[in-house]
Symmetry: C2
Subunit: 300 residues, 2 copies
């Protein structure tokens, strides 16, 4: 990572970690074990790509990182809930996440489902009560719900599960369109929303917001390709989860469909498209372009 980007990223990560911890429900009406299960997954580390992107987008549009913190925390909560539910035995049935037992391995299935539900719900509470003015809060809630819901992330997860039951068609164009359709929703929609919410908080116009969303969609797809490549070529210890699992499941992936080299080329083209989308922001957009380029270099 570029040293300037790394400094900025780490600084933002620290504020996000503190705000996430503070945003968990107080014990009192919340059963302690539920809070523990929520905290276990929410505070498990990770790159915090989505909330960092929200802060970068807000700053690139003239806002401050501080005012984007509630939206940033909400994005990370929605992302965390989706990981908890995706790991469940009925879904991807994963035992390991970020080098630790998955939530249901640690707390049991019932509590894992409910901790996910509570994180999703808390995300909307934080945006609705923490983003100001209120019309921006309402717009952010609507955006976040659209990105996370049936036509967004949840829809993408359903499409991904359905794809497991289908043999690839063998036609590269058909399978490629199918793959994009899955990941545009499963990963892309929430990353696009992370950028868009940062802009909304800064009070930008609709044209700039659409540019930020386009940036996020392209970064999101590039990120997914990088993820597929890491599953193919990555190192289990560094990843903190099983690798080679997609191939073992016969899952449709970018390297499976296009090979490693062509997948890398596609990811680079998406990053270029992302950078073009935020060109109108000028030098203020540089942290965003640096973040996009970093997606290509990530090794875990």
């Amino acid at each position: 990572m570029h040293p300037g980007l790394a400094d900025r990223w780490n600084r933002h990560c620290d504020s996000i970690e503190r705000a996430l911890l503070a945003s968990l429900p107080e014990c009192g009406d919340c059963p302690p074990r539920l809070r523990e299960a929520m905290e276990y997954s929410l505070m498990a580390g990770g790159k915090r790509l989505r909330p960092v992107l929200t802060l970068f987008a807000c700053e690139a549009c003239g806002g401050t990182a501080a005012e984007a913190i509630p939206a940033a925390c909400a994005l990370e909560m929605v992302h965390t809930y989706s990981l908890i539910h995706d790991d469940l035995p009925a879904m991807d049935d994963d035992d390991l996440r970020r080098g630790r037992p998955t939530n249901h391995k640690q707390f049991g299935e019932a509590l894992a489902i409910l901790a996910g539900d509570a994180l999703l719900t808390r995300a909307f509470e934080i945006v609705a009560a923490g983003v100001r003015p209120a019309d921006v809060a309402a717009a952010c809630c609507a955006d976040l719900a659209a990105a996370a819901g049936a036509a967004g992330m949840v829809g993408g997860q359903v499409a991904d599960l359905e794809a497991e039951d289908l043999a690839p068609s063998g036609d590269q164009d058909v399978d490629g369109r199918h793959l994009v359709a899955i990941h545009r929703r499963k990963t892309g929609a929430l990353i696009a929303c992370a950028a868009s919410l940062g802009g909304r908080v800064a009070g930008i116009n609709e044209e700039t917001r659409l540019s930020l969303a386009a940036f996020g969609r392209n970064v999101g797809l590039a990120f997914q390709i990088a993820d597929d490549l890491l599953d193919r070529t990555g190192d289990r210890d560094r990843m903190g989860k099983g690798v080679g699992k997609d191939a073992a499941l016969g899952k449709l992936t970018y390297p499976g469909l296009y090979g490693v080299e062509e997948s890398r080329r596609k990811a680079a083209a998406l990053v270029d498209a992302a950078c073009s989308a935020v060109e109108p922001l000028g030098p203020a957009g540089e942290p965003l372009t640096a973040l996009a380029r970093f997606v290509l270099e990530r090794d875990h």
Copy 2:
């Protein structure tokens, strides 16, 4: 049910059913099978207590039923998602709901979890995008999230699951407080929110909103006692689900703790308290008091 109440309830139910159907995601980006699973549980009928209460509360405060429809639909979606997740094998493991197979029996566990997630998410989208003005929308989202989340409905479900592993203390006061603490969150918080949101949409002041919430909390607890009584004394065909299950599980219930007669008396006292809370609304509040009294008479 009082004929005047029944007419009004049925008329509102019709609008709610139409609005719920229209509020499901369009096919397009939403996988058809996901929409089907959402619709299966959302359109399974039932009394629609929560959304009808929202409409009644809005009208009692000088608003129109039409303007409360988005909030009403959101309440029913949150309630439906909670039933889908509560029925899962990892939770209550129920096969039957309203006389039909539960969502996971019909669609499989993965899709049932995701359909619940999508309904919860959609509820916030509908409030954020459908309630106006925007500051009321943001306040409604925050209220709904607080009622549905870790310190509300989800917290109550966790407490209820934890209580299954505990033998009752044998001290009626201790067990009684524990029971109230569970149901205040598990059932009461969302019913209180249904009343409160109806008032918010009508633009009431905070004092009246708190009265409506107190009304809803008391109705919610009375409703839960009625539910426990029906599980004890109800008729399986009419209920559309297994009865006697709580007792079989050794679960703490009102009739188990206080006996049938004393439980009926407690429910009646709660309904009286609910009616007192909305007395300041005058004759405009009559549908609310009729609804509260109906809770005592329900037989399914």
